[in-house]
Symmetry: C2
Subunit: 350 residues, 2 copies
Amino acid sequence: MRLNQAGELTLLKKLKDSFRSADSGVIIGIGDDAAVIAPQNRQLLVTTDMMNEGVHFDLGFTSAFQLGFKLVSVNVSDIFAMGGVPKYLFLDISMKETGTTEFFDELYEGIANAMKIYGLSLLGGDLTGTMNDMALSATVIGTTEKAVLRKGASVGDKIYVTGTLGDSACGLELLKKMRPEYKEHVRALRSDVSKKLNGQLSFANGPSHITLDFVSAGPLIRRHLMPLAREASSIAGVAASMIDISDGLFIDLSRICDESGTGARIYLDRLPLSDGLKQACGALGLDALRFASSGGEDYELLFTAPADADMTGICATCIGEIIEKERIAVDASGREEELKAEGYQHFGAG
Amino acid sequence: MRLNQAGELTLLKKLKDSFRSADSGVIIGIGDDAAVIAPQNRQLLVTTDMMNEGVHFDLGFTSAFQLGFKLVSVNVSDIFAMGGVPKYLFLDISMKETGTTEFFDELYEGIANAMKIYGLSLLGGDLTGTMNDMALSATVIGTTEKAVLRKGASVGDKIYVTGTLGDSACGLELLKKMRPEYKEHVRALRSDVSKKLNGQLSFANGPSHITLDFVSAGPLIRRHLMPLAREASSIAGVAASMIDISDGLFIDLSRICDESGTGARIYLDRLPLSDGLKQACGALGLDALRFASSGGEDYELLFTAPADADMTGICATCIGEIIEKERIAVDASGREEELKAEGYQHFGAG
């Protein structure tokens, strides 16, 4: 069914019925002029992010489910990066009148799946038309006892990252090189990471092509299409400063340094690389280290903690330390180079 | 200068420097992963609205200043409609890379102008690229001691509206009929309503054209391009239910009735019409009553209050009363008709 046969009010009613909130801090959720919440003596965190068709996503290889899931994750990641707990979601969704209700249903299935994982309640939003490309925007409100800011880094702090780096950027590269007949295979990827990946994918490599096992390439692609934001409650207890890696390790580390008035030394051979990244880059002749240092959208956490912090139970890799002024990348042979804040910037100056 | 020469970070820094918040409830404003606010034991109101080029605005006759002003107003209107005080603003702005910094500067001049009027602090947002049309989204957080909901209407309540109705929809009609040589005249309209309007505007009327004084037509056009949300602190003291009129009087009244489980009787000859609306509709052969009953985007407030409420100092027009079940419009001759919930709906079912 086309959206212009269903009507905005029908779609809104569906959302309202599906997402009734059981949160005791919610007085009024969807359905009035504004949501009403009663915060319980904590700090509130508020973040908003937008995703536009053709710029942030390509519906040629992204399913509606994946898109909805990612929209929620990228916003939740900002709440985790402040050491907070995500609570409330507000959505602005713009689609063409000729969009289908099937697409809308699948989009909100992806949104609902992410909401469940992160424990979010949908409290409001706007559902509206657009002339051409889809535009999506989400606002997430979270709570925290004490926010972890970018500006808290001190000289002597160790620098840590969660998970592995560069997977998302490599996954995007794979999607661009992927032979078209595999698109449906990839569009079927859902968020259940425990699900077994089988088969192979084939990628253009100059005039020939390269085949990779789905078990290696799939997680890279999934990280790009459906990033899972990294929960940070234990990290928040030790972190002096924190940011999520959305634009790339080096540019996001530079933000911590800028705000804290410090430098940093990073050891490139310590950057955590997944086996899938190494295999894919090896097979396709791509630079794994460049993906890890400057690739965006990993949505892992980058944080600093005092050298004597108790890291028991915290799963993160130490990749360097905060120093006075300089920003340095040290390679495997001990050679030092200036750390360049490269990464994605909209309206990028050439 | 084009946006892709300025770069996102330069633009963000400019916003950050211009909009430092002096609000004591703000712990961290623009510049970290999320804003941090410390609510002071009140209820918080949250609303979000999106505006898309070609659907919600036409840059052919809307200036960037007017657009920025309207984006803020439509969101603030939802906070006022809950009886709240707007406090914090979050903006998502998507523009083409080839947009100019002059356009961006003027957009944020309009935003800043509205923020000043409403007492808002900008605490965050996202500035990003788009392939085709501009997309804007704003989230406003407000505070209230007690929210006024849609569902509070009771049988016997009087129904009130603030200001005059239909001006915005008539203004849009005038913009569509306006001869192109007057566009710049209209694009120069700013938010200062005390500024004297001079001259005349000319409108297509079939094969000929009609001339109207700018002093009559200007306010209608301004109401469409730069609506001023209606502050409601005194109304909130008496209102049993409230909504802002964004989609049209009848459709928004139906929402109050739906939520409250009541009917309503409206007297059409009591609908407050501006002199400008009457003049423009008279000259161009348009139906003023239809604009007033079903035209959208007036951003006036529609509320109900008990018949014995003390209305001293409240500037609003009584247009009817809440009844048990039926929804009736009574015309000047006393003839009753069913009140049809007509108004603007995205993805409107035919």
